[in-house]
């Protein structure tokens, strides 16, 4: 992959000339990613602006990191270089709501909260829960394929994206997928860009599948004394015909128990029935939180170190227990949570700096490795990242991925160094 060079005054002037002075400014320390400060911060207002920036970057070998609400910029290896922080938050229009079709088309910079406010007027929603819905943008959510607990029943963002517009690393404006819920024309390239973390193209617009808002909803929290009784309940619920909207669990050094948190939705009779059935299947103390849902996974956003154990549902309680125990040996402030029906386990902890973080990650990788699970580092201090690939060992299909990257971003201008295998 080609190396990039830094933006100089000429490029900066060229960009100001094409975009307008209000859209280009020097980067600041607060806008650094993994300690690397961008030379320029550009706010795109149109897809054409994005295209201009990408083409300018290609011509001058500049490195771009596209950015929405910036809630997930911690994810990834450190950028090899960082010339332009390309903000998409200026692309903030909801283009078309097709209420009867249960689809919506919106620009990438629309926030999750903004979209869901608009959809609520038609009793609909984009069924994704993000940690910071006021900041998280649709482009960011799709680029990261990051949902929350609701993925248990509605699928991950990749299952809800019907189509998109992208400017790829070659500067091509791509119209991908469509706006109908069923479509098998050609390759389903929206799936390639969903979860590609901005490394193949800049998403400017998405068409999403929406769902009806549930007439009633409640969150139920059940407490278990130990992981074994939690596992017992998890197995019973997972094998039941209850249409639970979400099923997360968590524990932490600040908690004396293991908590299962369920999102229950439906008509009032469906909700009542599910609550009764959960009580009889789980037989443990519970409480109800009316009409609020915050995935356990999103509850802790202040940890110094956050890691993800990638595993299967049947292993998640066991791995969560082992990860928790291993991290506690290093630090007194640990929390662990998981999507019990999907598998991944999230651990957050406070640390005393880089050495300790490396030691914790190393121990956790031993634990997860023994269970044939993978450990990703979601957040850590920037100094730690050069020492470990945050995505873990390369996947089996890495050479195909590298080849895909080469086709869609041959000059390596999009988030260079940040993705799997430091591509």
């Amino acid at each position: 992959m080609a190396s990039t060079r830094n933006a100089d005054d000429t490029t900066s002037a060229a960009l100001v000339a094409s975009l307008g002075p209000g859209q280009v400014r020097p980067g600041s320390r607060g806008e650094a990613v993994d300690g690397v400060q961008p030379h320029l911060v550009i706010t795109a207002r149109t897809a054409a602006n994005v295209s201009t920036v990408v083409n300018e970057a290609r011509a001058n070998r500049l490195a771009i990191i596209p950015c929405g609400g910036g809630t997930q910029l911690d994810r990834g290896n450190p950028p090899r270089c960082f010339d332009i922080r390309l903000s998409l938050t200026g692309l903030a229009s909801i283009i078309e709501r097709h209420g009867e079709d249960m689809t919506v088309t919106a620009e990438a910079g629309v926030t999750l909260a903004q979209l869901n406010r608009a959809l609520a007027s038609r009793d609909q929603r984009f069924a994704v829960d993000a940690a910071s819905p006021q900041q998280a943008t649709l482009g960011g959510i799709v680029a990261a394929n990051s949902g929350g607990g609701l993925a248990h029943s509605f699928g991950a963002p990749r299952d809800l994206v019907l189509g998109m517009r992208v400017i790829d690393g070659r500067g091509r404006s791509l119209v991908l997928g469509g706006r109908v819920v069923k479509n098998v024309a050609g390759y389903d390239l929206p799936r390639l860009f969903t979860g590609s973390w901005g490394t193949l193209g800049v998403i400017t617009e998405v068409t999403l599948r929406t769902h009806p808002l549930a007439p009633q909803a409640t969150t139920m929290r059940l407490s278990f004394e130990d992981p074994a009784s939690l596992e017992h309940a998890r197995v019973a619920l997972f094998a039941s015909a209850l249409p639970l909207a979400a099923m997360d669990f968590s524990t932490g050094t600040a908690s004396s128990s293991w908590t299962l948190q369920l999102r229950i939705e439906g008509t009032s009779s469906e909700v009542d029935y599910q609550i009764d059935r959960v009580r009889s299947l789980c037989a443990s103390p519970d409480e109800r939180l009316e009409n609020q849902w915050l995935s356990s996974v999103h509850a802790n956003t202040t940890s110094d170190l956050v890691v993800i154990g990638v595993t299967r549902p049947k292993q998640c309680v066991e791995i969560a227990e082992q990860m928790f125990a291993a991290a506690r040996k290093h630090t007194s402030n640990v929390s662990v949570s998981a999507h019990a029906g999907l598998g991944p386990v999230y651990l957050g902890c406070s640390t005393q700096g880089p050495e300790q973080e490396i030691a914790i990650v190393t121990d956790l990788r031993t634990v997860t490795g023994a269970c044939r699970a993978r450990l990703l580092v979601s957040r850590c201090c920037a100094q730690v990242k050069p020492a470990l690939d945050v995505w873990g060992q390369r996947p089996e299909s890495f050479s195909l991925m590298a080849n895909v990257k080469q086709r869609f971003d041959p000059d390596g201008i999009l988030c260079p160094g940040r993705f799997v295998g430091r591509m």
Binding site: L176, V184, L192, R312, G343
Partner: protein, 475 residues
Amino acid sequence: MPLNPAIKRRFRSIVGATGILEGGAGLKVYECDGYTLEKAIPEVVLLPSTTHQVSDLVTTCHEEGIAFVPRGAGTGVSGGCLPAGIPVMIATSRMRKIRAIDFDDRTIDVEAGVVNLEVTRRVEARGYYYAPDPSSQSACTIGGNVAENSGGPHTLKYGVTVNHVLAIEMVLPCGEIVELDRSAEAPGYDLGGVCIGSEGTLGIVTAARLRLLVKPQAVVTLLAVFADVVSASRAVSAIIAAGIVPAALEMMDALVIEAVEAAYHFGFPANAGAVLIIELDGLESAIDDLCERIGEACSESGASKVHRARNERERALLWKSRKRAFGAMGRLAPAYCTQDGVVPRSRLPEIVERIARVGERYHLRIANLMHAGDGNIHPLVLYDDSDEEEIRRVVCAGNEILEACVQMGGSVTGEHGIGVEKTGLMEAAFPPASIDAMKDFRSVFNPAGLCNPGKIFPTDRHCVELTRPRPRGGG
């Protein structure tokens, strides 16, 4: 150019004498899938029974520069496994092992040749099932389902194949075996997600890990009768607008009703202009309420009758009538051609009128079968296959309908795929840059183009043979 005998010997050494078919009548069945307007006989059909055999066969083709085409059960309907100009066919139908069932994870690992319905049969005693249910589910295989990203009537609530596949094992066109993991938080690009539905152009799927669902507590099937297709379409919109997501929402028009009634004697009203088959599932305690709300939505849209299937037998007969509707169409005309298009669901009344106008203009009878809840239409164009001029009109009418779908914001295919049938419509569906991007993706997996050439992308193909289409299903 015929295959070199040394290469055939190499193939035989990999799959044994019983794993290779060449010459003679035995190959006739492999000349096409459900898309019968074009046919071609491969020089050899190879029947591997393991992934390693597939890998060795593909490696041989790769080393020798020989084109090959993967095939499942041949139930596709767009010519995705047509061996036109392709000497070697690799059929995965003998790879029928179920490798693992894991109820704790709600997954099943199956080889490509396992029949769709077999998956549910293997797990139903424990209360589980596999959701995607194409009409051909008693014959089609998981390998083919993955290649085509198959749908079926129940996709409305539960999604298509790609939503139910957690990993695929695939032999790349160079012979290498890879596993593409799609589990939550698996790092890297979702290559598996793109390979699903790639119609055998990126490699040969040899196994898949499928998601199992727990059978719902209660299932109810309703039949709603309407005077015409437009009012039935309005009911579809009303149901969706009421915030109800039925498990299935299917429509049949008068012509289809006539054919299935003659074949299966369900007792559809003789004067019905259209019927909706609506399936609801969920909790027992809630199902009656849902039925009532659906009943109201249908009545308000002009339904003359809403009937609830009284028992499992009646329910099964209703679904048999729907799923075998394609087979029944032979009663109405010597031949028919199934189209597969999608419109946003709110445009259903419009596309239905458009189809009627196209039928009038081309002097063709067109029956309508639809996964109405998804906006996925299957116009069945009836014709006389001994009339060459009429065949040409059938093709023109089909293209016109699909172009109308695109103009309405829809797609040229909802579940049948592009195959060879619709390569000419790709340019109507996508701008050139998007097609180039797809080709870029293909070149990563299939750089030499030996794996299933001539599919999906517009080429200079010419028709191999035009013959009588046999009744063909889909959806």
